[in-house]
Structures are given as structure tokens and as C-alpha cells.
């Protein structure tokens, strides 16, 4: 079985908590909070005002450039407020608050059934952009941009990422099981948009049923193959998945485009299918609500803007919950409160009723971080330089090329927050670099 060649770790998978719970659509919450920045790129621009009545699927905020996508109303109702708040990354942007009217009234003419075969690549990308589709694997990069390689970089393979290597997370698995056909069509639509003949569906070996369903859904298509991968974190990281499936390495600072590949998540394929074939903008997504603190772990289809608290109340949550995480346990962000909305990039909500707070010790140079780094980075040396404030060494040590997968930190017996040091150091380096250029 294929896997990426260097490093990697095996955190407890914990997928059994939620994997057998089929996708279920939740009732529309009363209040939805929609940040205008839910993707990588420039924030969307709000085009509604307080008091406006909006229909389901109506554009609330429009794209503000090429690397930007609009935000749509997940239900019909009234814009009750527009407030400035910080999103989980810390960036501050407008949040549009909608009070649902309970009518679920779609905007006229938006639900248009289309035959995707009759559309050309540009039309497909236009629809995808207008529907606000972004990568649902977590990074939330606008999908139309990822489907538009520069002309000098020919693409020959589209990889559909069904790896879901984050422990606990099962929403991609459920999407593959419960929406197999839609995902397969979404994949074909993206292949058409890219103009590629070949696609590979990558699924880890801990999801054999999802692998089989996907394989059977594409067997008639000679250009598409499904590949089962050996379970290892972080296999779902783009660079690792490309190397595992094709043996091609994406150089530091380069993109999958540079090796002729585009990687899309299975959830994104579903969103593409719904956008292109049904005219449905991205107003809901699959979210795994799980963790030892959740009474009934589940995979839910959640309107964007639903608060984490609503989901936890629905599934039941332990009052002794100590930690809430948005995303998986390896790369997710710890939340300071449950009053935070689900956004397009939210794959899961984790509630832990136990947290072990480790006191970080000194580096004992065991080399584990280097052994497990999927990029062959010298994490121990990076952090030694960071602690010593040797900014000039960062570039040479590849501090800036770290993908922040957390593998080194997971493996560190001294429980040092290596990846946190590295994230901070990147910002520090940028500041130093601009200082340097000013001096010249």
C-alpha cells in the first residue's frame, strides 16, 4: 500500500466515536452569524444592511477580487446586525447576523438544474466562484482559483483527497459513504474544469468501505482510479498526498500546480456538484461533532453560521468539558467559547472533558521531531534558533516552509510546542525581512 516516504506519526484514530452515524441535516437555528472572511484571500464585501430581508441563497457579501468568494444567506430572514468581530485566526472582519424567519424561502430562480456536460470549463469555474465554493478540507482556499492553473503549468492529474488523516474527524468519510454519486460527479466536473483526463481518489486504509464505494462509483470511467493508502498522519496534507500517490515532490515555496497536480477534498467535490448541477451555493457543510465530551457524536449537515453552542446542545455535551477545538486535534484551533460560528472551513467540533497540561521540558535532542517530520525538517534546530532569536537562520533552516501539521509536536517527549514556536517565528521573520529591506 502506498504512503508518503518520510516521517509521519500514528495518533490514536478515535474515528469509531462518530463514523457509523450517517449524515443528518440539522434544523435551522434561529440565529446565524456569518463572517465575510471564511476563506483564504481578501474578505468578501457586505452588500446588505441591518433590517434587510434576505432570501435563502441570496448573496450577503460579494467577492472582492479574484482570490475571494461571496457569502450567501443560509436561510431566509432578517439581517439583525452587522458587527466587527475576530474570527478564530484572530483577524477582525464584519460578521453578518441573520435572524431566521423559519420560512426557508429560496431566492427565485437560483435552484437551477444544469447538465454539467454541456458547460465548458470557464462556465463551470464561474458557477463555482459565484456559489462561494472553497476547499472544505480546512484551508478554505477558493476552489475556482485552484481550478485555474497558470497557462505555463500544464496539469495532468487531479487528486481527490478522501484521506481524512485527522483523528476523530469522520465528515469526509460520511460524505463518501452517504453522497458517493454526488462526489463522483463533482470530481468529473472538476476534471472538466481543469481539462485533465486522469484523476486519483486517495482514501486511507481505515476507511475500506468508503474506498470501495468510491471505486465502484467510478469504475466505468477509465481515467479515474481509486487508491488505498496506508494510514499515517499527515497523509492528507497536499504535498504528502501528492508524493504518496505520484512520487512527485513539491519544492518549498511551490504549489501542486508546479508538479502538474491539483488536489481537491471530497467535501469540495460535493459542494461543486451541488453548485453546478443544482445551483445551490455553499450554505451548509458536513461537520463532525465528537470527542469524549460529546454525548452523541455525530456527522451533521450544518448551515454555515450555526454557533458551536447550538451543535453541542443538540448532541449533548459534558459540563466538565475542558477544551473545545474547531477542526481536528492535530491542526484544529482551541476555542475560547462556544459562541463561535461554524464557517466554510470547519470540518469538526471536538469537545474534550480531559486535557493533560504538560509542562514543557528542555530539548533532550532525541531527534524524534526530525525523524517524524514529513518534510525532513530539522525542527529541533529550528526551535533552537528561534529561542536564540537567530532570525537570519530561519530561511536556511526552512522555518518558513513548515506546513504546521503538528507532527513534531505530537511526537516530542518533552512536550515542547515546537509548531507554535515555528508559527510565531514566521511572523517574526516577515517583520525582520521588511525591516531589512527598509534599511537597504
Amino acid at each position: 500500500m502506498k504512503t508518503f516516504s518520510h516521517g509521519g506519526v500514528y495518533p490514536p484514530e478515535m474515528k469509531h466515536l462518530s463514523k457509523d452515524v450517517a449524515l443528518e441535516k440539522i434544523a435551522m437555528p434561529k440565529t446565524l452569524i456569518l463572517p465575510v472572511l471564511q476563506h483564504i484571500g481578501s474578505p468578501a464585501k457586505s452588500i446588505v444592511s441591518v433590517g434587510d430581508l434576505v432570501k435563502k441563497g441570496q448573496v450577503l457579501a460579494e467577492a472582492s477580487g479574484y482570490v475571494s468568494v461571496p457569502v450567501h444567506a443560509p436561510t431566509s430572514g432578517e439581517v439583525s446586525a452587522i458587527v466587527q468581530r475576530a474570527i478564530v485566526s484572530g483577524k477582525v472582519c464584519d460578521h453578518i447576523v441573520i435572524e431566521a424567519d423559519g420560512q426557508e424561502e429560496w431566492l427565485d430562480g437560483i435552484l437551477e438544474k444544469r447538465e454539467w456536460q454541456s458547460l465548458d470549463g470557464e462556465e463551470i469555474k464561474e458557477i463555482i466562484k459565484n456559489c462561494g465554493v472553497v476547499g472544505l478540507g480546512g484551508a478554505a482556499f477558493p476552489t475556482h482559483v485552484k481550478l485555474s492553473p497558470p497557462e505555463d503549468k500544464p496539469i495532468d492529474v487531479l487528486i481527490l483527497n478522501g484521506v481524512e488523516c485527522e483523528p476523530y474527524m469522520t465528515c469526509d468519510y460520511r460524505v463518501m459513504i452517504d453522497r458517493t454519486k454526488a462526489v463522483a460527479i463533482g470530481l468529473r466536473i472538476m476534471m472538466k474544469a481543469l481539462g485533465v483526463e486522469k484523476a486519483i481518489i486517495g482514501v486511507e486504509a481505515n476507511k475500506p468501505d468508503a474506498f470501495e464505494k468510491m471505486r465502484d462509483a467510478v469504475w466505468s470511467d477509465s481515467g479515474i482510479t481509486a487508491e488505498m493508502l496506508k494510514v499515517k498522519y499527515p497523509q492528507g496534507a497536499e504535498k504528502q498526498l501528492i508524493e504518496a500517490l505520484l512520487g512527485r515532490e513539491v519544492s518549498p515555496g511551490k504549489l501542486p500546480f508546479d508538479v502538474g497536480v491539483v488536489v481537491q477534498n471530497v467535501g469540495t467535490a460535493l459542494a461543486v456538484y451541488e453548485a453546478v448541477c443544482e445551483g445551490k451555493p455553499l450554505i451548509e457543510r458536513a461537520v463532525t461533532v465528537t470527542g469524549e465530551g460529546v454525548e452523541k457524536p455525530a456527522n451533521l449537515v450544518v448551515p454555515i453560521g450555526t454557533s458551536v453552542a447550538d451543535l453541542l446542545l443538540r448532541q449533548g455535551v459534558d459540563r466538565k468539558t475542558k477544551k473545545l477545538v474547531m477542526g481536528g486535534p492535530m491542526m484544529g484551533i482551541a476555542l475560547p467559547s462556544a459562541d463561535i460560528p461554524v464557517v466554510k472551513g470547519t470540518s469538526g467540533i471536538l469537545a474534550f472533558n480531559k486535557t493533560v497540561l504538560h509542562r514543557p521540558g528542555p530539548c533532550i535532542r532525541c531527534g524524534k521531531c526530525i525523524e517524524v517530520c514529513p518534510l525532513h525538517g530539522m525542527a529541533a534546530e529550528m526551535v533552537a534558533a528561534i529561542e536564540a532569536g537567530q532570525v537570519e537562520k530561519y530561511e536556511h533552516l526552512h522555518v518558513l516552509d513548515c506546513v504546521e501539521c503538528g507532527t513534531c509536536t505530537f511526537a516530542c517527549p518533552s512536550h515542547r510546542s515546537l509548531v507554535h514556536y515555528i508559527k510565531r517565528a514566521k511572523a517574526e521573520y516577515m517583520a525582520w525581512k521588511s525591516e531589512q529591506s527598509k534599511k537597504k
Binding site: 462556544a338 493533560v356 521540558g361 528542555p362 533532550i364 532525541c366 514529513p374 518533552s414
Partner: protein, 355 residues
């Protein structure tokens, strides 16, 4: 709203939110456990006094570490087991009838000078236990490099009589007249540890068992002990050695020409099982703090240690060279680390693609 959901406040911290079960404590205590077989062999062949040397050494190392950490105003971390391990390893390098004040002095040197003076765990350049032994070797060489070795008691917790028997150690014989080694000791004696030597170094069997345990646990990279031992085995039989009568011979030439390939292997194996090589290769050279970071670097480190051991054993002023070989290579770790940086993912050769 979320205030009503939970009893207490939420913990916020950087990802990842799951961690390995490994810890410094677990690693250090695992190494100590891995040394227990060798300790049992020491108790069987050297008697209870050897256990007392070990206990004194460990206790003084722990007390010294605690005292200095308190003096430095940093958290006292003796429960991590690293000081206890240093004390244990130091005792293992001492003769079984050493006066009890020597393990105290050695431990204090190891912890105070070789470890804490550099900043404590993780910052020391030299293996503390070996630095402690090197200090004792220089300051009390009469008690460390002994001409008389105790007779083996051959029964559990027996007494040792120091004056009764004078017997050369295998290392000394291998240095002076390697061809005669098997008229003094059988390979089986060497393997199970029925030989004179320092407390914890004699039983290859016990040390290999402990070493394999650590390799399986992932706390020791097999490359280092393997490259170290293999290098010693190769160099000690391919370099010219003493013929026992003032001349030199090439073992590989003379022994093999007499049709004794197997004899060459047996002498080479005797070299591996004698002296402190097994203890050094599995437990001293592999000290994480003072060895290279990558597997490649550890292989180079092992080969370097092996060459130094062969040179010291065959031509040096001491019969054994494990201690100095590791201390010298400890000093070279920064160079090895610099020369063995792995190729970063996607970087082709050494040429920057952006140029």
C-alpha cells in the same frame, strides 16, 4: 451562552491537542529498567558490594542534582530519572571493589560539572557519566585502573576477596597477546559475563537484552550501536596487533592463512564482548543529549567511536578506549549534525530552484 454549557473555563492552547505518551521521565526510567539485567549479573558475580557502589552512586547523583537545581532557583526535576541514570551508568563503569567515596566524587563531578554547569539536561556536551569516569580515571587512576581484579563469587550476594586472585581482564589480554585469549576465557564466559571487569560492563548477554528492549521501544536507534560494534570488530582484527612477544602481526593474515576464518571471527567477537563496549555502545553512546540528531549522523558517530576504540585498545596507554572514544565523539557532534542535515522535502540537490 457557552458560559451556561460548561462548569469551568475552557483551556486554550496551541495545536496539536493530542500528544505522544512518551516523556523524558518514561525514556529515562526505561533506560534504567533496561540496565537491570546487567545489574543482576553484577550482583551474581560481584556480590552485594557492587550493589552498594551502585546505590551510593545513584543517591549522590540525585542529591547533587537536587541541591544544584535548588541553588540555581530552577524547578527540581530529579523525578525525571536522568540524574539517577547518570549515577547508575557511572557506577557501572567502576571496578566492583572500588572505595565508596569514589562513586560519590564521580557522581558529583558528573552532575555538577559535566551537566548542571552547562545548563542541565539537554545542554551538556559530554555524557555526564563518562565525564565522571574520565575525571576519576585522571584523579584516582590507582583505584580505577587496577592490576588486581576480584575473584568472582559465583553465587548470589557472595563476598568478594580482592587479594586472592590476580587475573588479567580480557581487554588486557587482547592488547598484549590476542591469540591467547581463549586459553584464559571462553567465548561463553565473555558472553554471559563470567569475567573480571567493571560492575556493569561484563555481561554482553544482559546488555544486549537491555539494548534490544530500548531499540524496540524506539529510544535507541539501532544504527548507532550496530555501527559502533561492527567498526570495533572489523578494525581490531584488520589493524596490526601485538603478537605477545614484542612484535606485531596481522591477525587477518596470520590467522586466516592458517585456515582459521572462524578463529578470526571468534577473536573479533571476543573484542566485541570484552571491556565496556556493549555498555558503551547500547547505553552511553546512545545518550540522546550527546549524540547526533539524525540516523545518518548516529551512524557516523558510531563508526568514529569504533575507530577510536580500536586505536586506543591496540596502541593506546589504556587497555580500554570506550570511555574516551565516546567523549571525543561527543565533542564532534555539532560538526556531524551540520554535515548530516537531511535533504528538505522537494529541494533538489543543493541547488536552490529559485535561482
Amino acid at each position: 451562552m457557552s458560559e451556561q454549557l460548561f462548569d469551568g473555563k475552557l483551556v486554550v492552547g496551541p495545536a496539536p491537542h493530542v500528544a505522544t505518551k512518551d516523556s523524558i521521565q518514561r525514556i529515562m526510567w526505561s533506560v534504567i529498567i533496561a540496565l537491570v539485567p546487567a545489574l543482576i549479573v553484577a550482583a551474581i558475580y560481584f556480590g552485594y558490594y557492587a550493589l552498594m557502589v551502585v546505590a551510593v552512586s545513584m543517591i549522590s547523583a540525585v542529591l547533587c542534582e537536587a541541591a544544584i537545581q535548588r541553588f540555581r532557583g530552577v524547578p527540581v526535576t530529579v523525578s525525571d530519572g536522568s540524574a539517577a541514570l547518570t549515577g547508575l551508568l557511572l557506577a557501572f563503569t567502576l571496578p566492583p571493589n572500588v572505595p565508596l567515596y569514589l562513586p560519590v566524587i564521580g557522581s558529583v563531578f558528573a552532575i555538577a560539572i559535566a551537566k548542571q554547569a552547562f545548563g542541565g539536561l539537554g545542554f551538556n556536551i559530554w555524557n555526564p557519566a563518562l565525564a565522571g569516569r574520565a575525571f576519576l580515571l585522571a584523579a584516582y587512576s590507582g583505584q580505577i585502573v587496577m592490576t588486581k581484579w576480584p575473584i568472582l563469587s559465583n553465587y548470589l550476594f557472595g563476598n568478594i576477596t580482592v587479594d586472592a586472585v590476580t587475573k588479567a581482564t580480557p581487554c588486557a589480554i587482547l592488547k598484549e597477546a590476542p591469540l591467547t585469549i581463549f586459553s584464559h576465557y571462553s567465548l561463553m564466559d565473555l558472553f554471559i559475563g563470567r569475567i573480571p571487569g567493571s560492575i556493569g560492563e561484563t555481561s554482553a548477554l544482559a546488555l544486549i537484552a537491555g539494548g534490544i528492549f530500548l531499540i524496540v521501544k524506539g529510544y535507541v536507534n539501532w544504527r548507532l550501536p550496530l555501527s559502533y560494534i561492527a567498526t570495533v570488530m572489523i578494525f581490531t582484527v584488520f589493524l596490526p596487533v601485538s603478537d605477545g612477544a614484542g612484535g606485531t602481526i596481522f591477525l587477518w593474515k596470520d590467522v586466516v592463512l592458517q585456515g582459521g576464518w572462524l578463529d578470526l571471527v571468534r577473536i573479533s567477537t571476543a573484542e566485541a564482548f570484552s571491556g565496556g563496549l556493549m555498555l558503551g555502545a547500547f547505553f552511553m553512546a546512545t545518550d540522546m543529549v550527546t549524540s547526533p540528531l539524525t540516523g545518518k549522523g548516529q551512524t557516523i558517530f558510531g563508526v568514529g567511536c569504533g575507530i577510536l576504540v580500536a586505536l586506543i585498545r591496540l596502541y593506546g596507554g589504556y587497555p580500554e578506549g570506550v570511555c574516551y572514544s565516546i567523549l571525543i565523539m561527543n565533542t564532534a557532534v555539532w560538526v556531524i549534525d551540520r554535515l548530516t542535515v537531511p535533504r528538505f522535502f522537494g529541494v533538489k540537490g543543493h541547488v536552490s530552484k529559485d535561482a
